[in-house]
Subunit: 309 residues, 2 copies
């Protein structure tokens, strides 16, 4: 097995698909070999708390706490605080479980105490016995904004959860003057392989690539992507409708690969989704709801990466 | 019945004893006749949240949500968030229930949004269907500090809950340059009767009296106190040991009355606790755990107040 050196593999990841592949890579690689750069463009404040949906999904998945079906929160969580808030008039549009809330309370208090997102993430990971290195893409806010065809501009979670992704999208914007952290740039610099996880390219991976220096760093490294589209549908989330809205193309693995363009040295798609390209397109089963499938796919990726290196 | 005019009665109140008498006065008086000035000297931050123990106890009591035995929180509350925090290393010294947490989250977010304690308290009261007028003594911090005989200075809740009131007390200090709110001063100005609830004089009532203008306002009004000491013991809390530590006297109703001194026009004590004084001392049953006893005592107080007026 290659890629055993400390920090050999850097995964760029967003929501559920990213979390599942990261979980597979985590198990397929020796301790220390994997660093994960996580999208914080979805971060927002709710109930006065700092919520980081993608960091939480990945932490909970690595800790074995994520539900198998639902794309958020902790399996078996209760909703006592939310129910009380709803009794007192809260609209309840964002579901916050009680155990999940413990995370947001810790994060918010630590940030208010002057700690960085990077440090807080390490602290939270440790409290959940997650030893893998999770790096928020930035220590500063970089909110992903959805500009709708109706001309509204919404925070991503407002659009995704509150409007249930019902408003057609005209553009995605990355707001705020944030920088990639030194830890992120250093991890990319030392990487032997970059993996673009099967996350939404527009709202999970692009926010990371939009930070100064990141796109160039990825371009310099062997880079392998995994399709978030399977047979024309998104495994999870609103991507299948965003692709035609934002690119004018049909939703397909190819459309995602074309979006990444010159960054890719190989792209992994579902059996039957192969297309012709200047880089290698590898077919396999990329549906990884179950943990054994995650590890199997991760091993295949590492094998493929060793071949293209 | 006298004292029916809007704002006729102002109660100064702290923890559980205060909450129970306020509950009785609330029921014995017509809508609008009672205003309650509440100690916020116990307020502190925990988990990054602004917690107001005395306001919460009074709100929950008036809402019928307070436990009959336990002196804090909401009856039948769950502790999912706390248990999760403890699993992740929280010391768990301060018990926060899930429904209770909904209160602290709302308060903290509203304060962070620039609302005053007075406005936030009205908002929270309304969300709990408490129509009675609860006035935090100040919109600014006025922490009660416990100076121990060992020379340590502790925030009140740290001393009370974390050390379980185990460290002997040398002095109580009221820190911060806070002012009574205009609403508090106005309520006292318009009052026909002031009631000093059966709360701890040192850490529940004195913090209110310590604010500029409050002591003078109370002195100008017919004022009636209720003893928090029954047959030498405190009904709840650490008062019975604080009296000898702070005054050198035995714990008794008389010691509390002497502490208030010239403020009192009458003092209500438990049957058998009567003493000689320059003001009227009235004996009755002042144990008011049950709601019917609260209303009965409140009615007796109002009758007595009408006589001394």
């Amino acid at each position: 097995m290659s890629f055993e050196r400390s920090g050999a593999v850097v995964a760029l990841a967003g929501g559920v698909g990213g979390a599942r592949l990261v979980d597979g890579l985590d198990r397929a690689l020796p301790d220390g070999a994997l660093s994960v750069v996580v999208n914080t463009g979805d971060d927002f404040r709710h109930w006065g708390l700092h919520i980081s949906p993608d960091l939480d999904t990945i932490m909970y998945t690595l800790a074995g706490l994520a539900p198998e079906e639902r794309g958020w929160g902790i399996e078996g969580d209760t909703f006592e605080v939310l129910e009380e808030r709803k009794r007192r008039g809260d609209a309840g549009w964002f579901q916050l479980g009680d155990r999940d809330l413990a995370t947001h309370l810790s994060r918010t208090a630590a940030l208010a105490g002057g700690e960085s997102m990077t440090d807080v993430t390490e602290l939270l990971s440790r409290s959940l016995s997650v030893s893998r290195r999770l790096l928020p893409m930035s220590d500063q806010p970089r909110p992903t904004l959805v500009v709708t065809k109706g001309g509204e501009t919404l925070e991503f979670q407002q659009w995704l959860v509150r409007t249930q992704a019902s408003l057609p999208v005209a553009a995605i914007e990355h707001a705020g003057d944030a920088k990639a952290t030194p830890e992120v740039l250093d991890a990319l610099e030392r990487a032997e392989l970059v993996v673009l996880c099967p996350s939404n390219p527009y709202v999970s991976i692009d926010p990371i690539l939009s930070l100064e220096g990141v796109r160039e760093a990825v371009l310099n490294k062997p880079t392998l992507g995994v399709s978030p589209i399977v047979r024309g549908s998104a495994v999870k989330g609103p991507l299948a409708t965003m692709i035609p809205e934002l690119s004018g193309k049909e939703p397909s693995a190819r459309a995602v690969a074309e979006h990444y363009g010159e960054l890719l040295d190989a792209f992994v798609v579902q059996d039957g989704d192969r297309f012709d390209a200047a880089f290698r397109v590898f077919e396999t089963n990329i549906l990884i709801r179950k943990r054994e499938d995650r590890v199997r796919l991760a091993s295949e990726l590492l094998q493929l990466a060793a071949e293209i290196r």
